[in-house]
Amino acid sequence: MSTRGGAAVLAGGGWDLSRAQRALASGDDVLGRLPGADAEVTSLDAAAKEGLTPWQMAMSRAICSACQAAIEESGGTVAWGGLFAWWPW
C-alpha cells in the first residue's frame, strides 16, 4: 500500500511477511505484522500506527468482504475485481 507521505506499507495475510519477503523491502518501507489478520487490515493498521495516510493499495488476490468493509470504513474505494483500492485526496 502506498501512502501520501511516500512510504509504502508491505503486508501479508495470516502469518505476515516471510524473511525473504522482508529482505526485499527498501529502507523507507513499513513492514506490517498482525498475526491472523488479512494483509489489507494489517497494512491499514500499520499505516495508522505510523501516522501514515493511505493512498493506493494493490492486492495479489481478490479482496474478501471483511477487508472491503474495512477499506470503505477508512474512506477508501475498492475497484471492481477486488485487486485495487484507493483513497481520495
Binding site: 495470516g14 505476515d16 524473511r19 505484522r33 500499520a46 500506527k49
Partner: protein, 210 residues
Amino acid sequence: MARSRGAACLRGGRGDGRCNLKYDEVALSDRLAQLSEDAVSVFAACCAERLMPVYKWTASVTAREEVAHVRSALEIGWSESASPERVQQARADVEALVPDADDEDSGYTDVALAQNAIACVGYALRARLSHNVQDAVWAARQLYEAADYLVQLSAPNQTYIENVDEQAPVQLVLRGLATTIEDLGNGAKGKAKAHARSDGEALTSLFNQQ
C-alpha cells in the same frame, strides 16, 4: 559436545572461537555444490526431516491422513530403491497437499508451518529426482522460514524481530544445516538423518515453549 563449528559454518565467524552462523543461500549453494549428487538430495531430505515433528505437532486429528501421506512421501525420498517414477508420483501427491492459506478447515493449527513442511518434502523429492543444488537450497529455505516464523511469534504486533539469525530457533536450524553438510561430506548419511530427527524434536520443543 557441539556438533557444528569451524568448517561447518555457513557464513561468518566471530574470531573468538565461536561460530556466528548466518543464513546465506549463496554460501549454502556453494557448499552443496561440493557434495555428491546423492548427498545433495540427502541434504534436502534432512531439511524435510527436521520439519516433520513440528508438522505433526501442528496437524489436528482431521489432518491425520495428510500427515501419513506426507510422512510416506518423505520415506520414498529416503528410499534408495524407489524408482524415479515412484518419486515423481510422491512429489506430485505431496505438493497437492500444501494447504491453502485461506482454508479455515485445513486441519492445521498453524497453516504456515504446514506449508513450509510439506513444501520442504516436495523440494526434497524434487532434489532426489534432479540432484539440483537449487532444489536443496529451497528445501533449506522452508526450514529457515519456519524457524523465522517461530522467532516472530514473540514479536509485538506491527514489529518484526530483526536479528533473527541470532535467535535460538534459527541458530538450531543453521547449526543443523551445517552439521548435515559436515556429516554428508564425511559420507555419514545415517548420522545426518539421525541428527536431523533429533534436531526436529528440539525445534518442536521450542515451538511448544511459545
